[in-house]
């Protein structure tokens, strides 16, 4: 402040010259109206600090000597008192005289008013700076800021009220309560806050942060350390959900909202093994209905045919559900039938799905569905639809030869089992033969035929006549040799070896390598060596 009693006189016309630097008239920019809020503030700043504006744009030398003195005097006068007092009193007086004479406005704007900070990029064009907004757009932007502040205040009030309700506080005579309407209003409020924030700052608010239900959970975001490999560019929603998953897993929460959280994550990444196990634990802890869970799982399975975890989860569900119905034959049967129906449906999408077949064999064993006619019929339907469906053939072998009533415990799949009834072996041999005739070069029924003969403790020679129909004129020249199934020739080689006819076995193997199955020549030659 200037010394008391020496109020600055009104600037006279002659003195006005000094307050407006002569060179500023050269600035054409001053004539065009400001387009953005940053330009407007710059203009105001320049008006309040005329000499600074010239110095900034053109340098100190653009000012006349007098103007330079005035600029310095103004700088001096704007300094705080303690800084001014470092200058000798005499000099101070001289400077104040100059300030008064030049009639310099001491209440100039400060420079940092031009720095506006960042806004959402769609709002502004100039590198995200709010200063780039047009004056009109800035008005809108400010209104949004006000709106956001108001919403934040209301949201904080909601949280406080909820906290008071939790503590059982009273309001006059009544207890503080948070109604469902309050929660809905808060959800709506947060939705609006998220929208405004997005418009103002370009920030996306995650769905869990939006939901008042999750306010008490402090998410544990996962930080990627330096030098991480195989970083996956997954969306922000996934990262948010995982950070909440980590938090509830760490606090061992088993609740309905956690169940919903697992569903959200499974939708985004069904291969996440941890989330499935956590889901299984929640279902057990809350004793939730397993049939209901399986119904939900059916849909997930149909949407994710190649997924492994879904089937492991189903496995776990059956493990805990079956004991509750095991005593009730009717309920077990009903459950088995429902599972069969679902398996038929999913195998219609992918008839060789490994996980589905793997689960199917587990189910047969668990529920004891060995004599269920629907099981064998389902397999036959699939083989009729595609005789090359090796998964179906494998399941058939299991269903027929692992039946507890006609198999010996501990006997391996590749070993003969005296408990296998002869009529069943005969039935399976003719089933395989019927299917071979449909497509002789299909290896599945050939493997099955051989497997059944071994299992039944039969000689492979039982299939000699049958196999021979696919091989004509073996070893004869002149184009008379005709083979319609390399697998027949392969089995015949084994049959001849079994009968001790090494020469004939060798011929089969040699012709396989020479002509009928040349890609495996190394293998057939090895088999020839094994004959001796």
């Amino acid at each position: 402040m200037p010394p008391k009693g020496k109020a600055a006189p009104k600037p006279k016309a002659s003195e006005a010259k000094a307050t407006q630097p002569s060179s500023s008239k050269k600035q054409p920019a001053a004539n065009t109206p400001p387009a953005t809020i940053a330009e407007l503030s710059q203009l105001r700043l320049d008006e309040s600090r005329p000499f600074d504006a010239v110095r900034r744009k053109q340098g100190l030398s653009a000012l006349s000597r007098d103007e330079q003195t005035t600029w310095y005097a103004a700088r001096f006068a704007r300094q705080p008192a303690h800084a001014r007092n470092r200058v000798p009193i005499k000099t101070q007086r001289e400077l104040w005289r100059q300030v008064n004479e030049a009639s310099i406005g001491l209440r100039a704007l400060r420079d940092h008013t031009t720095k506006w900070g960042l806004a959402a990029s769609p709002v502004v064009t100039s590198g995200g700076d709010v200063g780039g907004l047009s004056i009109e757009a800035f008005g809108e932007w400010s209104e949004r800021r006000l709106r956001l502040t108001a919403l934040e205040v209301a949201s904080r009030a909601f949280r406080e009220r909820r906290e008071r309700a939790r503590r059982g506080e009273t309001e006059g005579k009544d207890r503080v309560v948070v109604t469902e309407t309050d929660v809905d209003d808060e959800k709506e409020r947060r939705r609006e806050m998220a929208e405004v924030r997005q418009k103002l700052y370009g920030v996306v608010t995650g769905r869990f942060a939006l939901d008042p239900e999750w306010d008490d959970v402090v998410p544990i975001p996962h930080e990627e350390p330096d030098g991480a490999l195989a970083v996956i560019a997954y969306p922000a929603e996934y990262a948010e959900a995982i950070s909440y998953l980590r938090a509830v897993m760490a606090s061992k929460e088993y609740s309905d909202r956690c169940l919903r959280l697992t569903e959200t994550i499974i939708e985004m990444n069904p291969a996440h093994y941890t989330v499935w196990l956590y889901r299984a634990a929640i279902i057990q802890a809350l004793k939730l209905s397993i049939p209901y869970e399986m119904e939900w799982l059916n849909k997930v399975a149909l949407d994710n045919l190649k997924n492994y975890q879904i089937w492991h989860h189903r496995h776990l569900l059956v493990d805990s559900y079956y004991p509750t119905i095991a005593e009730d034959a009717e309920a077990t049967k009903e459950f088995g039938a429902a599972e069969q129906a679902f398996l038929t449906r999913i195998l219609a999408e992918d008839a060789k799905n490994y996980h589905v077949w793997s689960y199917r064999s587990y189910l047969v064993d668990k529920l004891g569905m060995w004599d269920d006619p629907g099981e064998l019929a389902a397999v036959e339907d699939l083989i009729d639809a595609d005789v090359r469906n090796n998964s179906a053939w494998s399941h058939r072998f299991f269903l027929v030869f692992s039946h507890p009533a006609r198999s010996t415990p501990g006997v391996a799949a590749t070993e003969p089992d005296p408990a296998a009834p002869s009529e069943i072996v005969d039935r399976e041999v003719s089933y395989a033969k019927d299917k071979i005739v449909l497509a002789p070069q299909n290896q599945s029924p050939w493997n099955y035929l051989r497997g059944v003969l071994v299992k039944g403790g039969r000689k492979l020679a039982e299939a000699e006549e049958f196999s021979s129909q696919f091989v004509v004129g073996l070893g004869e020249g002149g184009g008379r040799e005709e083979v319609t199934s390399t697998h027949a020739l392969d089995l015949l080689a084994e049959i001849y070896a079994e009968k001790g006819d090494k020469e004939r076995a060798d011929l089969c193997l040699r012709r396989l390598g020479e002509k009928w199955d040349r890609i495996r020549v190394g293998y057939w030659e090895w088999r020839r060596k094994c004959l001796n």
Binding site: I220, H222, E224, P225, G227, A228, L229, A230, V231, I232, A233, R246, A250, K252, Y254, M268, N269, P270, A271, H272, Y273, T274, L277, Y278, A280, A281, Q284, K352, Y354, S358, S361, Y362, N390, S394, H395, F397, F398, A412, A413, T414, Q441, Q443, S444, N447, Y448, G451, K455, V483, T484, S485, K515, W516, D517, R518, I519, R520, G522, Y523, W526, C530
Partner: protein, 469 residues
């Protein structure tokens, strides 16, 4: 279409370009489903780069793709997945801040451990393989420094089920208690034998560093029982055989009695050669996985129907006997399924471990890989014409390396890392065990010093209050 005159070669530069891209830039969103198995992805990347850069003279003159400083940093990253109770998690998102584990009692297996399901058997093996692959050239022995060997081996034991098989994770379930989760999957059995071979060593009972072994006999019996009626292997004998599981069964059996030191020459595995019930049918089943790949007729070449496009059946067998048709031979994983790059590995490497690799015709399969599966941008796809992905690209290279492709590092068919890296593992295991012995010696010294102090002073000196006798 391949140019008839052009010799079939592996384009090492193009392959490296693909892998460098995978190493340096984030993976696209299609890999999101692997988010919980990121160590597997990291293994595919580092293993492939190692296979592609044999330790020839120019490796030392050229700038290495992964610098020594970077290797160290990556090893730290791998170690950051280690679970405080032993084993590794598959992704950093499954590693909790350490404070979360404060009240846990790992040895007692208390309920506080409910979420120890975060350590995963497959992630653990990938972590160990990665640490070895990322070892320093000059000092391979330090590769496993920081691995909690004892806890990991103890945790591994707890993953074995009563029937001898292994699960993938441990989980506490409210009604079941401790539960070994994971399907009946031969992969876990294989991985268990790998972890055991990499970490356990020949430590005698009572010696420092001794950890009780899992039941190897029971595991072997479980695996051997899983042979199917047609000779292959499945997760259980009740399911269809699968080449991936056959590989795992064979490799697991060979690892069970693999020598601990100087293991790179093939060993006459007892269990493998005398234990398998029907070995000749197994060979038959493996050899049957090869089939002639016929070009799909021009009309449907764009169709990407998995089951149709590369499984064209010949009109008659006589068509197959022409030389031209020997040009491309693919592998499938199950009978009557389509050709897929990874089955070249699962079947080829299994036969190699059985010492029967010469039974298959490698040249037409090699041509199939290089001309039909190798992609323009490098890497290998799943089916002819598919874009490359980390898994198929890695195993395409791996089988070429096993079969001795020029310009690649030779690969160990059952450990699935280059033979050089197997030497690193042996050295790293030795050093880890030596360090444990050293530690226990220090403890013995401290104890005898304490005893001496007690004898002299008649009471525990104040400066030794922290040491318990």
């Amino acid at each position: 279409m391949a140019d008839e005159a052009r010799p079939t070669v592996l384009d090492v530069e193009r392959q490296l370009k693909y892998w460098k891209m995978c190493l340096r830039s984030p993976l696209p969103e299609v890999y999101q489903s692997n988010e919980a198995n990121r160590l597997a992805l990291a293994y595919f990347i580092i293993n492939s780069i190692t296979i592609l850069t044999p330790p020839t003279a120019d490796r030392h003159t050229l700038e290495p793709i992964i610098s020594p400083a970077e290797r160290k940093q990556l090893r730290q990253w791998v170690l950051s997945h280690q679970h405080p109770g032993g084993g590794f998690s598959g992704s950093t998102s499954l590693v909790f801040p350490l404070a979360t584990y404060d009240e846990w009692d790992f040895e007692a297996g208390s309920r506080a451990l409910e979420h120890s399901g975060l350590a995963n058997i497959a992630a653990t093996v990938f972590a160990l393989q990665l640490l070895a692959l990322l070892a320093d050239d000059g000092n391979p022995g330090v590769a496993f420094r920081g691995v909690d060997r004892v806890r990991t081996l103890r945790w591994l034991r707890r993953l074995q089920r009563d029937d001898g098989s292994f699960g993938e994770v441990l989980r506490y379930l409210p009604t079941r208690g401790w539960f070994i989760a994971g399907g009946y999957d031969m992969r876990y059995c294989y991985v268990a034998t790998l972890i055991r071979w990499m970490l356990r060593g020949n430590v005698k009972e009572g010696e420092p560093g001794w950890v009780e072994d899992f039941d190897t006999e029971r595991l072997a019996q479980y695996i051997l029982r899983s042979q199917t009626y047609d000779g292959g292997f499945a997760g259980r004998a009740s399911v269809e055989p699968h080449a991936g599981y056959a590989y795992c069964a064979i490799s697991a059996l060979s690892l069970l009695d693999r020598p601990i030191e100087n293991s790179i020459s093939s060993h006459p595995s007892n269990i493998l050669h005398t234990g398998i019930r029907d070995k000749s049918t197994l060979t038959h089943w493996l050899a049957s996985r090869q089939f002639v790949y016929l070009q799909p007729s021009s009309g449907d070449s764009d169709v990407d129907e998995e089951d149709e496009v590369n499984f064209t059946l010949p009109n008659s067998l006589a068509d197959l006997s022409l030389d031209d048709n020997l040009r491309y031979v693919g592998f499938n994983g199950r009978c009557n399924k389509v050709a897929d790059t990874c089955y070249c590995w699962w079947v080829g490497a299994a036969l190699y471990t059985l010492d029967e690799a010469e039974l298959i015709s490698w040249e037409p399969s090699r041509r199939f890989l290089l001309e039909k599966m190798q992609h323009r941008i490098g890497g290998f796809g799943k089916h002819p014409g598919s874009p490359p992905d980390l898994y198929h690209a890695c195993f395409g290279l791996a089988i070429l390396a096993v079969m001795g492709e020029k310009g690649l590092q030779p690969l160990d068919s059952s450990l699935a890392v280059p033979i050089e890296t197997v030497r690193t593992i042996e050295a790293a295991r030795r050093q880890l065990l030596d360090a444990e012995k050293e530690d226990s010696k220090t403890n013995v010294l401290a104890r005898s010093a304490l005893q001496m102090g007690l004898n002299l002073a008649g009471k525990k000196p104040a400066w030794l209050t922290d040491v318990s006798v």
